[in-house]
Point group: C2
Chain length 78, copies 2
């Protein structure tokens, strides 16, 4: 069974670049990535916060947030 990863972004240039590069290296045989645009899916901001996401782009692996460079604060997306 594939493990789930969540990539939170907001469509910003830093986000798009991270999505293209970083998600591209993930092993598709082992991981399934849920890509969430928090600007369009504001109802999932609370979920992202629960994982400890402070800014986007961020990748959540095993429930833990990994912030990748910096695009925008989560607070600015509300």
């Amino acid at each position: 069974m594939k493990q789930k990863a969540i990539f939170y972004h907001a469509g910003c240039p830093v986000c798009v670049d991270a999505e293209q590069k970083l998600l591209g290296v993930i092993d598709p045989n082992r991981y399934e990535v849920d890509v969430v645009h928090l600007g369009e899916q504001k109802d999932r901001i609370a979920e992202a916060e629960q994982y400890g996401v402070k800014s986007v782009p961020a990748l959540v692996l095993d429930g833990k947030a990994y912030h990748i460079n910096f695009g925008a604060n989560l607070s600015d997306l509300k």
Copy 2:
């Protein structure tokens, strides 16, 4: 032929965690990861700087730096 990725770290807790989690999701069939401890290999700090690495842990993909959370500034490793 495998593409090369470089993971720069300094043995810090944030670095170790990122190494274990993030490097674990990389597709081993397509990527070969060079793991560099900049505290022990100070001669490679200049190389990391050229890629735009400002802090560790950082992953370099296609010559571009992706900072993952924050462990330590590169300037503090010199």
